[in-house]
Amino acid sequence: MSSSRVIKSFRQLLNESKEQSRRRVVIEQIISAMSLGVNLSPLFADMVKAAQTTDLVQKKMIYLYICKYAEENKELLILSTGTFQRDCQSQDPLVRGLSLRSMSSLMNKELVEYMAREIKKGLMDRSNYVRRIAVLATVKLFRVSPELVLGTEIEKKLYSMIAEVDPYVSINSVVALNEILASKGGISITQKIIIHLLKRFHEFTHWGQSIVLGLVANYAPQSEQECLQILNLLDNYLKSGNTSVILAVSKVFINLINDLPNLRNQIYDRIKNPLITLVSCTGNEMAYPVLKHIYLIATQLPNLFASEASRFFIKGSDPTYLQEIKIDILCEIVNKQNFKQIIFALASYVINSSLNEQISSYCIRAIGKIASQLSSYFDMVIDYLMEFIELDIPHIVEASMIILKDVIRLFPEQSLEIVLPELKRLSEIIHTEEAKVSLIWILGEFGEKIDEGPYILEKFVETFSEESSEKIKLELLTSVLKMFFKRPPESKKMLGVILHEATENSNEPDVIDRGLFYYRLISTDINKTKSIVLYEKEKFTRFTENDPLELFEILMDEFNTFSVVYKKPYDQFKRILHKNEEEEEEEEEDSSTDSSSFSEEELLDQIQQNVNDLDINQQNQNQQNSQEEQEIELVPKFNLEPSEFQNKWMNSSHNLNFDFELDEELDKESFEEILKENNFQVMASGLIQSTIKIFCYGKDISSNQIGLFQLLITGVNVKLNAKGTNPQFLKLFAEYIATVLTE
């Protein structure tokens, strides 16, 4: 089956269908196929012709089609202008709006004059619905021909439309101007505009409010008094039910701090609780950007959230992305008061087996980071790390040893007291590569301070030839050399062994190289070698992965944008798309072959099926023959739970009422019997006075559709109420029930 066949049958159906209701079904099918990704571009001329309908539903669908395929049918587009223009004169504002919105979406150079004329008229239209569409259409016009908008009467008109009573027109004018004037820094924000918009703030939808707040954030109030007025007015909207509004108000507040530095703490205090509430009260997807913003504020004011640490504890049901950002926040807000609470929580996540490995390693790193911030508690951190190592769970040992090494680098004197006596035991229990490397580094750097230091290293040297990890071999070479200069009598032999093994019996070129290098160095000048190997190290104070503080200041300026979520300024992730059209087309073709869209076969089958259904329908309507094809046949053993039935019954999108008469009266039992014989399933039945009430359902074999129905039978009169998701099926289904019962 090929797509050309589908197009052919669609074309034929369009031409044959004279009745409006039938035409509509055909066009619906075309839109369905288009939505699923079938290319129906060749139908363009037929669809333009069909646009001259008076049925609004058809019109909407046809315009949608025209917008979609306009690019590929440029030469045919001119055909449609007549219809568009006629519709712009319609009595019905819905039609005028639709026509204006569709025409302006075409963004076609050839049509630009028609477009400009209709948009100008639309801006003056008597219906606010049309005006609000016309306002946004100016932006589309601007994208095709900027000179027709910039500095013209349209621009002036837009400014005046901000003052319109209709809130939608007003907001759209703000948006339009902001985009048209983007190259000049957006709409010019005057005190007059701001006062006007804030005065009627309550009238706007949440979206409108967010947009206005975006403007207010960029507005520089003229006086301190004005700042306070804005602050007081917007304070109420921190109680808004819409997250977007709350974040936008927060941004305005943060920007006002520049003008009111003495209120800094008070202002942050105001936005604190609303933000925390959002974390527990919204969906995961929303909690994510909110937490990112809390994190940013915490980098500026760590103490603000310090007393609320428990709000950022992670839950087993949190997705990984929320767990990570919550841990980041905990690292920022840690202080002397909440230290124990936070460390305890992080430690419990490490050993909690229901969290994934990535998170437990992340927590260990966080614990190390906290140690670097609060040096007075490093001993507690070391205790935890030692405990983790003893758990003998590979990824935990790995991460803990690395952090242990870093903590020792941060606080060598104090931490060595605790760690050194344990080194021998540690060397016996750890097995993983990175952990071993860290341990060997510690031994090389500080191992001389304990008696058994060289002997622990010697144990590793003994297994050097069997060692498969290059990293461990290299680290061991360096550490043995260091030890040699500090404890020569005990280390001399081991150095000989390892240099021999490295240069003679190794396969790894780097190991051989380093072995030879050390060997030559020692043979050249042993004292110089010592000064090279044991140099005075700079004190290590900060983990390198900590972000530069300046970054956060830049991000504060970009509050309430993606920059905060990505933790990088806009220019680091934007890239202007300068692909030419050919490339784009190519890509689209690619996408149709990969699995992101439904397979062509699958789609065409389905459409053909739908088109066939249509034919059947048609024949049925026209009382033509071929009865057997339209017949419904039910799945014999199909079962719905009562709750499922109820759910479907309540939520079905389509409903059909149908009355008919029986040839003779029957009792309840015989009804149920007839229904069951025909594979209907009875959900419930009962007698109310003399009326029989039956709830019943069935599933069709060929279409897989499920139909539900209720029967109310009084004497020979039957009232049928059927429900389902597909109106065509429902009709067939109802007829089928009637046939079953009357026969």
Binding site: S32, T205, K239, N273, P319, E584
Partner: protein, 430 residues
């Protein structure tokens, strides 16, 4: 704020329906997202807001097994996009009952109509499903003068969330005050942390343009509010949020909640209280391991609320070591079962009356010798329950006055419910 496109994808990332609003980001980027979906190992690896090397930002939410994805190349307000996508799901759900692959495939036309009205050129217009119904012509619609009149009527009013001319035979308002309790307590009953998330859901079936005024009892105080006298009995709210319709300026002045409600169901307000409250249940647990071959549990649950109330659907989830078998249970009420997949026993009690003690004795054999039981003991016991006719915070509706110029009488109905979700009520045992 402007989005380039919105796509609805099935669970494999295939596009079911899409709308390109600005034609500045090719829709083929949807397949890039699909690739990411395939590469993820965990269900939640993809962050809800992420960007690629071309500077395209992908924002998605998950609903049932669908992904609703928005694309843009600008640096915009992410929360607004997510909120819009939530709004879109809400509207589609109100149209189709449940939003899933089937309902989308059956309703392409209506969805396209909704796409048209909810957003124009990437700018959100409105997402109130009640108002949207004015524009959606899903059923037969012929051009006529009559229609144009009703359209202009809908949006000229300053009340953007309610249309005019609504009529009900019987005027009723239903309020549901639901408090969701999160609490961690120790075995001795000391509260480690507690938080209440409260919601007031309204279902308004009133004619015309009614003005409502809601009065709450004075047990609740609003932080930062003017004029609220604090006394010892009152509970302070950390935060409160209202639906758009509530006049915030009135609330600021005299704490009154006045509003012209939208038609039908909506969330009137939500609040959060973090002040520690008295626990509703305490649990005492004794665990004895005998000769490392069997273990006995003795668990006592005590309800601390008034005798006139009762908790329903109570579940006590007690963690046990993974290597237990042959469970036997004895309960003073309800039924207990061992659920191996949870490594826990679950004790279900249909109704638990106020100020009562109930006891569970459990006995298990230990299948292998292990020290792991040490770790198991640190896991808390969880309790799940519902209590009707009560809010933990003590919040009550004192009155709900309805004023409408036609002067009809209306009936307010108020229900209260306290409940716990998931593992939010935890008891740490030693």
């Amino acid at each position: 704020m402007s989005l380039s496109a919105i796509l609805i994808l099935d669970f494999k990332g295939r596009t079911l329906i899409s709308r390109d609003y600005r034609e500045d980001v090719p829709l083929s980027y949807g397949s890039k997202f699909c690739k990411q979906l395939k590469e993820q190992t965990n269900e939640y690896d993809i962050k809800p807001i992420s960007h690629d090397e071309d500077g395209i930002t992908y924002i998605y939410i998950k609903h049932n097994s669908l992904y609703i994805l928005a694309l843009t190349k600008n640096d915009i307000n992410g929360a607004m996009v997510v909120e819009f996508l939530y709004g879109l799901v809400k509207v589609l759900t109100s149209y189709f009952g449940t939003l899933e692959e089937e309902s989308i495939k059956d309703n392409f036309v209506i969805i396209h109509e909704l796409f048209d009205e909810m957003m124009d050129f990437g700018v959100p217009q409105f997402t109130e499903s009640d108002l949207l119904k004015e524009y959606i012509t899903s059923d037969s619609h012929q051009l006529s003068e009559e229609v144009s009149k009703s359209i202009s009527k809908a949006v000229t009013g300053k009340v953007s969330w309610r249309r005019e001319g609504i009529f009900y035979k019987k005027n009723e308002v239903f309020l549901d005050v639901v408090e969701n309790l999160k609490m961690v307590i120790t075995a001795s009953g000391t509260v480690v942390s507690s938080e209440i998330i409260g919601n007031v859901h309204a279902n308004v079936k009133l004619s015309g343009m009614p003005k409502l005024r809601l009065g709450l009892n004075d047990k609740i105080l609003f932080k930062h509010a003017k004029g609220g006298e604090k006394n010892n009995k009152s509970v302070e709210m950390d935060d409160i949020k209202f639906h758009q319709c509530v006049k915030l300026s009135d609330f600021q002045n005299d704490q009154s909640i006045t509003f012209i409600p939208p038609d039908g169901e909506f969330e009137l307000m939500s609040y959060r209280i973090s002040k520690p409250l008295k626990p509703l249940f305490v649990v005492d647990a004794l665990i004895e391991t005998h000769a490392r071959s069997r273990v006995e549990y003795y668990v006592k649950v005590k309800s601390l609320f008034r005798t006139s109330l009762q908790a329903t659907e109570t579940e006590v989830i007690i963690p046990v070591s993974p290597n237990v078998d042959s469970p036997t249970f004895k309960t003073s009420i309800g039924k207990c079962t061992y659920q191996a997949q949870l490594d826990a026993m679950v004790w279900k009690i249909k109704t638990f009356e106020g100020r009562k003690n109930h006891v569970l004795r459990a006995h298990f054999k230990l299948s292998s010798f292990s020290d792991e039981s040490e770790l198991q003991r640190n896991k808390p016991i969880y309790l799940r329950f519902k209590i009707n006719y009560k809010t933990v915070s003590g919040l009550m509706v004192k009155y709900l006055k309805v004023h409408e110029k036609s002067g009809y009488r209306s009936l307010p109905w108020v229900r209260y419910l306290t409940e716990t979700k998931e593992n939010n009520y935890a008891i740490r045992i030693n």
